[in-house]
Each structure stands twice: as C-alpha cells, then as structure tokens.
Symmetry: C2
Subunit: 101 residues, 2 copies
DNA sequence: ATATTCTGGTTTGCACTGCAAACCGGTTTG
DNA sequence: CAAACCGGTTTGCAGTGCAAACCAGAATAT
C-alpha cells in the first residue's frame, strides 16, 4: 500500500520550508551561504537559522563557519545522508501518489 | 527554480498523516468509512477525526453521515479539488527534487 | 575616541497544531 | 437498571514554526 511508504519519510523533511532548503542545497554544487539561501527562499533570518540548526542536528546538512574579510561567513551543504533522504522522499511520494492520477 | 514550486503546494497536504489519508482516499473507488481508515493508517480515533475535519474544512474531502442498522456511519471521499491538489503536490515535488538525483 | 549603524547570524516568546485522553450520545449485553 | 461497547468529537498539553528582539563584531559618522 501507498501510505506505509510515506511513513518512512524523514520527519524533518516533512516541512515545506525545510524541503525547499534541501532541494536547493542538493542542487548546489558548492556550499551555499546564509545570505543566498535567505534571498532564494524569502524567509526571515531567525526562521532560516533555526531550520538550519535542526537540519544539522539531524545530519542532513553540514554547517561551516569561517571568517572572510574579518566578517563571519556561514555556509551550508547537503550531506550524503541529506541526499539519500531527499531521494527517499521523492520515491515514497511517487509510489504513494502516482497510481492515483 | 525548484523551491518556488513547493510553495504552491496546499499547506494542509504538507503533513504526512493527511497526505497518507488523501493518498488512500484518492485511490479508493468508493467512499471509505472511519473504521477502515483507522485500520489502514493506524491512528487514534481522535487524531483521525481532527484530520478529517480539517480536510473537510479545506474542501479536500467530503464527509457523509448516515445511519445503518441504527448505528452511525461516517464515510469520506476525495473531492475533485482534493484530487487536483494531490496531483499538484506530486508535480511540485517532482519538479523540485527530480533534478537533484 | 565614541556613538551610530550595518552585517551576520542566534535566542526568545508567542501562536498555532498534532496527538492521545477524556468525553459524549446512543446501543447492546448482563 | 447498570455496565460495557460503538462511533466518533472535544479538550489539554506538549512540541514547533515564526518573527521580534537580541548580540557580537566591523564599518562609518561625529
């Protein structure tokens, strides 16, 4: 049955904003910085920050902090676990919904 | 870009349980009753009840209540709007995630 | 020098929401 | 008549997403 597949989806990905973040990061070929993500997704800084923290805690993204020109620079990239969970999400949704076209 | 598609998804569907409910209902060829849904999805009655109420409020399912053998019988079916939003969900997720395989 | 503003985020407070427990009207059983 | 049962609904609480408030350091202004 379809519904059982859906339950295997990583719970943290079952949020439109976080899914959008992960979609963006998984497409990117190099680390994405805070500001870019912010512009792309149109969130507040606080909102983005807490989402990223949660995604890191779950091992779906990796956060790197450096200083560049004396300013802090935080970049994010999708971990292999993140990619795996994104793939899993797509497969689960397709198998659950495809047949009901 | 991919993420903008995701924002068009009906917010009510962005919940794993409700998506599972809708997947089930959209597959069913006849109305599904409370008990069947309950067994299929393994929820508590209260939980299922509130989800169905919300889905009805958003016009994604239709609720019918009748009496059969002196007992109440509530059945649910997917509205055409519900089917449309499910299709939209699938399309949006595919277009956002497919390219990041 | 020091005050003000800007940059790059993080933490806090609140409003909302999913969940299960408690509840409720009616029915069957003891 | 009481007790258990059926088919759900409502309530209370715990968890969470959001923006406002906050914070440290750098640039700019006075």
């Amino acid at each position: 049955m379809g519904s059982s597949e859906l339950l295997k989806i990583h719970p943290t990905l079952f949020d439109r904003v976080r899914l959008a973040i992960m979609a963006h990061l998984s497409l990117a070929k190099r680390p994405v910085d805070f500001k870019s993500l912010l512009a792309e997704l149109e969130l507040t800084r606080g909102n983005l920050s807490t989402h990223m923290k949660k995604l890191e805690e779950d091992g779906l993204v990796q956060i790197d902090k450096t200083f560049v020109e004396r300013k802090s620079r935080t970049t994010y990239c999708c971990t292999s676990k993140g990619r795996k969970e994104i793939r899993n999400y797509l497969v689960a949704v397709e198998s659950a919904l495809k047949s009901s076209l």
